[in-house]
């Protein structure tokens, strides 16, 4: 993962899950439930991304009283980056939706 300027789907889902304080396992569960299992994140990927987000100060350790289940949450900077990426994704979706609106089926 070179830069977090353009969030990958995995990073986007994890950051979306961390808009509220959650531990790793809760992040995995939320993503799996929300997408009905169509998007899953492996434990090694999740751990790598959590470490990366911590380093970039996009998330912060919220509660480490249980060393097996550390709780993280987005920082102000993290919320900003996520908001920017939502805008970027909206442009993509709007373009596609607009294109599909006009009934041009052959």
């Amino acid at each position: 993962m070179k830069s977090l300027e353009q969030l990958t789907d995995s990073v986007f889902y994890i950051m979306a899950a961390l808009t509220e304080p959650r531990h790793g396992y809760a992040i995995m569960n939320l993503i799996e439930d929300t997408t009905k299992g169509s998007f899953v994140i492996g434990p090694a990927s999740l751990y790598t991304i959590i470490k990366k987000l911590l380093k970039e100060e996009l998330i912060v350790l919220h509660d480490d009283s249980d060393s097996r289940r550390k709780v993280y949450v987005l920082t102000a900077k993290g919320r900003e980056v996520l908001t920017e990426d939502i805008k970027r994704r909206k442009v993509m979706i709007e373009l596609a939706e607009k294109g599909l609106e006009g009934d041009k089926t052959i």
Binding site: M1, V11, M28, G42, A44, Y47, I49, S67
Partner: protein
């Protein structure tokens, strides 16, 4: 005492997939991975099991191991053994792979590459300098640089091989998974 045996590894950096598949095959015959050994694995006789193995590289600091292993276990990956920064897990077939996206899988290879290329940056110039010295100088310096050259070659060759192998794996990952 349980029966154990040793099997050789091709080197996880070079042939991770082949090594892990071999471990799965052995587990099916009841020879289950017990621990990492020098240039190989130690297996222990038990009930046959159908499992896939995965390896991750991560140097865990104090207080990080619990969370790391918990994540794997919650995702269905049972921790088998570790040695320094190498961690091996097993899970039934069909379990979500430990690396689900290309970016973090590339990160794993980068973590592996870092120490190797650091050694390379030191050992390659040493090899070249000693090679030049032994060819262009005579006397005790020639003898001395000959010895240095031979010693550095012993390290330079496997280091280079590892760098190339890891670079190729990285390339393969980014080519096959992105479109």
């Amino acid at each position: 005492m349980k029966k154990t045996k040793y099997i050789m590894s091709w080197g996880l950096a070079f042939a991770e997939k082949q090594d892990l598949e071999k471990l799965s095959k052995k587990a099916k015959q009841g020879w289950r991975l017990k621990s990492l050994a020098f240039a190989g694995f130690r297996l222990e006789k038990g009930a046959p099991e159908h499992v896939q193995y995965s390896v991750d590289y991560r140097l865990l600091k104090e207080g990080e191991k619990e969370e790391y292993l918990e994540l794997f276990s919650q995702a269905g990956w049972e921790h088998v053994c570790s040695s320094y920064d190498i961690h091996i897990f097993k899970a039934p077939y069909g379990t979500t792979p430990i690396y689900s996206d290309t970016e973090s899988a590339v990160d794993k290879l980068d973590r592996l590459l870092k120490p190797v290329s650091l050694i390379g940056k030191f050992i390659l110039p040493l090899t070249m300098i000693s090679y030049l010295l032994m060819n262009f100088l005579t006397g005790p310096i020639e003898q001395f640089s000959k010895i240095i050259f031979l010693i550095s070659m012993v390290f330079a060759v496997p280091t280079l091989m590892m760098v190339v192998a890891l670079m190729l794996r990285k390339k393969k990952l980014t080519i096959t998974k992105s479109y």
